[in-house]
Amino acid sequence: MKPILIVLVCLTLAACSTVRPDPEIFVVAEQAIQAAVAAGGDEFAPVEMRFAREKLEVAKKGMEKEKYQVSMYLVEESEINAELAIEKSRTAKTRRRVNELRKSNEELDASLRATFGGEFK
């Protein structure tokens, strides 16, 4: 829900680019990065994690220089990178389980074949 709200807010704000954005959007973006870290993002999606952090830093600097419009876009881009990092981490974990189970099945197959010989199909 939150990203959608932010998108709406930003789109509204984008029309009037000179308005200073709600500082709450930085808190939300930071929370997204934390969620990505918790999901294993640093391990499974380091590139996206770096994008998320860098874009958030640049957005904060943009605020200091009153480049509000760019900052709001960058916050969005930071968040979507955190979201992608979460999805990539989950997918990587699933892939890892697939590989583990495939290996385990191959071992089981080999051991059963050794035990029962040709009877095992």
Partner: protein
Amino acid sequence: MNRTLTKITLIMLLTLLSACVAAPKKDLALDRVRGELDDLKSNPELAGYAPLAVGEAERALRKAEMASGDDLYRSYLVYMADRRIQIARTMAEREQNEQTLDKLEREHSEMLIQASQLEADQARRDAEQARLLVATTTEDAQRAEQEKEQALLNEAESARAAILSAEEADQARRLAESRASEAEYARLEADLASQQVSTLTRQLENLQLRETESGVVVTLGDVLFASGQAQLVEGGRSSLEEVVDLLQTEPNKKIRVEGHTDSRGEAAANLLLSEQRAKAVLEALVSLGVAADRISSLGMGEDFPIDTNESEDGRARNRRVDVILLDN
């Protein structure tokens, strides 16, 4: 004029530049992102997965394509569309992996089920083998038992053969003796014959008598013994008195008591029983006055029936003790 011309030239140049540089650049970025989405949708392994995320990516891309406004805004939208496509792709990959995971888990349990079935089969075979082993052992035991019986039988057989050969020798000796005193013998025979005729005439009424090659056979029916027993029944002894009278009419003849059974039951057991019964009759005869040195007993088992073993009457006739007055 000059200034106007310069102005027009400048505008044209700017328009050209903007057409050449700005617009195609934007299209290239968008084209690339559109290509990514098309690739995801047409990927045979991923097509159909994560439909909601793909739809969201599609909307983000369309928004970028339709956007008018500053470059910053449009490149932001293109970037967002690109990330949405990445998200959709990674979710599609995950869904596909989850399906593979399901399949692998199914295979895993199928293997375990098959393994347990095979194990059960193996156990069944082992049990069968064990049963066979037990059966074989039992068979061995039975065979040993049979061999023992056979040995017993052979022993009895050779004992009988020994007795028979002794009797043959005896007979030969007696023949020689009788030839030596032929005259005496002839006279004795005449005496005995006349005695025999009268005695036998008397006894024939009560006793079963048969003439055989060995001599006169007195058959004692199966009334002397209870079933399976080797002891004379009460009153059996007294019924033997008539037999003793008959035997004493031929004091010089050897007597052989033969036990016979029907064919029911084990041959070895029957042989033993017939032996014991013959012996019991012998002892009874001796106690009734028959000289112990002229009488012998022998178990013949079931091998010498005088009637069929297929009927009860026949079997009753086969269960007997023969007392044979042996011809010299």
